[in-house]
Symmetry: C2
Subunit: 380 residues, 2 copies
């Protein structure tokens, strides 16, 4: 569809954070008119779009009115009013990813049932309505309790170690999930356009910050055995096809100590596990998302070199106007790319930016990344 | 200086065309607040900045008022009111490139005298006040007449073949220049920051569209002999140092059939001959310009692969609302990056975008670029 739209296409993005910001950086190349809806009047995208509207993403009227004169809507966050998106779809606005997929993914319980119904390997689970159900669950202790809705970036997730701890469990409808003793967290980003073309980015490996439960360190491409890479790739493609999604889908997986792959969760949009693609791969995840939703040919995803991505998180104990330390130092090193997200205020573990470190020498890329991590700080 | 400014720096750009647009794409990574002044209310940057002001770049009051509350000003076009910039500099606004350099480069006559005074190789020339002087010039026919001021993109340049043609020559103060029988046009982009660090991008080779006198085809890196590359590189560095410029400087040169390098002209800003650096080099020219004016360490300029850049010019005979043909076709080829400039209207030879074609196989990059050139068209 995009062919006739260059310069005229009115694209709405629900959410105006860093993902929207990086999507805009790429959308500029396609002459797209971008409209942003975000509840934060200081959102990172506020000054970079044709129209910025400050409003709730969960409110039916707000989302519907924002979208009704647009050609196309996409998201950079799943927590949006899906009823409004459905109505917009009915009225002819193109919504990618489709509203039914956002609805499915908003609910971790429905996500898990989808995995089960489609033979997608995932950790054993049970859905519960309230805390009381935990006393009867068949999932052995310790296990994870995850709120079915509104959890993100490690929020809404609790590890329950003993019956005594059930007291402190979430009261709301949840997913109880077997604790996976994983070797590594891995991810594949897959894209699908409306023609049905499907393309995956090379597998990446991640390390998490145990305090913040956020991706802290990502390496691309993975050097795991070929069979693991193929299997992860095939799982991601199968999910994209089972869902018939149009757009990008990040598939986060566990690699268990036994070499088994279990799908953890999905994000139907550009994702933190794909930021390295800007410098590291032939096509960036943001370009790929646009190609997919505009039904253009998908771009080559080949890794151009080794890339390590680190999130630049607000330092613990600092809150207020953001100040950046060490930017000059890290920019002096070859292959270091700093992306700041335009957030005025920092707080502990807030995602303030990311850094991509590339090098043809993989060990050097990792070494430089560790050093950047120690050197670059966001304080207040 | 930039260190303390992230998120707070107010950067003005004189001109809101494609160069400003690509500068903004990069400035987003540094949390810079961008203010744009451009006479065209439909300028490519209009919706991508903190503040867009529609006004004349040549008017003293307009430029002065635009700049007086900013921290820093840079340019994406030389034709700006330099008196206003000088006053702003006096009042403490940082202007990079410095106003004296813009003044020098605005006048092709002063530029040539600067080359002469600094032993920079350039074609023989004479400055004339009016057409009559042409009858007495010592420069042998045929020669080039170039207006001292306001010429750009091939405008303000005439080839005079015979005494009879002097009739049709420009009346205004001009530069008469010996016709250079060149083998190739080549260019080096050099950057210098306020600490005095100087860094050059690898030499590139260009082909011009003879009808439009615009760069049409550029190859990076050059495969010319090492001595030529070194010599071109040294000339560019010397000019940056002689000028003590802060920012980017594009140095366009002729390589004569005798293997001599002659400097043609300078542009103190990101330049058409550096667009390939976005995908082709470790640091893009836009990132490098920002690093230079913010007095940050300059980035590595290494070529990551072979890159061919072609300008996407409005097709002859078409004028009006731009329509793009062949975008889907070219995006289906690996290593093809389309940059559209957000211009609503096309006219013959108007720069509507550019395409960068990368490939580790140089011949394939060139072949793909030729094919893109035949396939991608801007019509109305």
């Amino acid at each position: 569809m995009a062919k006739d739209f260059y310069g005229e296409l009115q694209l709405g993005i629900l959410g105006g954070g860093q993902l929207g910001r990086m999507l805009i950086q790429e959308a500029i190349n396609y002459n797209v008119n971008v409209h942003i809806l975000d509840p934060d009047k200081n959102a990172p995208c506020r000054k970079l779009c044709n129209r910025f509207e400050c409003g709730s993403l969960s409110d039916f009227e707000t989302v519907y009115n924002f979208g009704k004169d647009l050609d196309m809507i996409t998201i950079e966050i799943e927590k949006v009013n899906v009823d409004a998106l459905e109505k917009l779809e009915d009225e002819g606005v193109v919504v990618y990813p489709q509203s039914r997929i956002i609805r499915l993914i908003q609910d971790k319980g429905m996500q898990k049932q989808f995995f089960k119904q489609n033979d997608i390997p995932t950790a054993a689970f049970q859905l519960i309505s309230n805390k009381e159900n935990l006393y009867e669950t068949a999932i052995p202790l310790p296990y994870m309790q995850k709120l079915r809705k509104d959890g993100y970036d490690g929020k809404g997730v609790k590890k329950i170690n003993s019956t005594a701890e059930i007291e402190q469990a979430f009261e709301e409808p949840s997913l109880v999930e077997e604790l996976v003793d994983f070797e590594k967290e891995i991810a594949v980003i897959v894209a699908r356009n409306d023609k049905g073309d499907v393309s995956t980015f090379p597998l990446v490996e991640m390390e998490f910050n145990p305090d913040a439960n956020l991706v802290e360190f990502l390496i691309s491409p993975s050097t795991l055995p070929f069979e693991i890479q193929t299997q992860a790739d095939e799982i991601a493609k199968k999910i994209a096809e089972d869902l018939q999604i149009v757009g990008l889908l990040a598939v986060e997986m566990f690699l268990t100590k036994e070499g088994e792959i279990l799908v953890n969760e999905l994000a139907p949009r550009p994702h933190n596990s794909g930021h390295h693609t800007i410098e590291g791969n032939m096509t960036s995840q943001f370009a790929q998302h646009l190609r997919a939703i505009f039904n253009l040919p998908l771009g080559a995803t080949t890794a151009r070199t080794n890339a390590v991505m680190i999130n630049l998180l607000g330092e613990p104990r600092y809150e207020g106007l953001a100040k950046y330390e060490g930017v000059e130092d890290v920019l002096a090193v070859e292959g270091v790319f700093v992306h700041l997200y335009g957030k005025k205020y920092t707080k502990p573990f807030r995602k303030m930016g990311h850094v991509c470190i590339i090098n043809d020498d993989r060990e050097l890329a990792i070494k430089n990344a560790r050093w950047v991590q120690e050197t670059l700080k966001v304080k207040a």
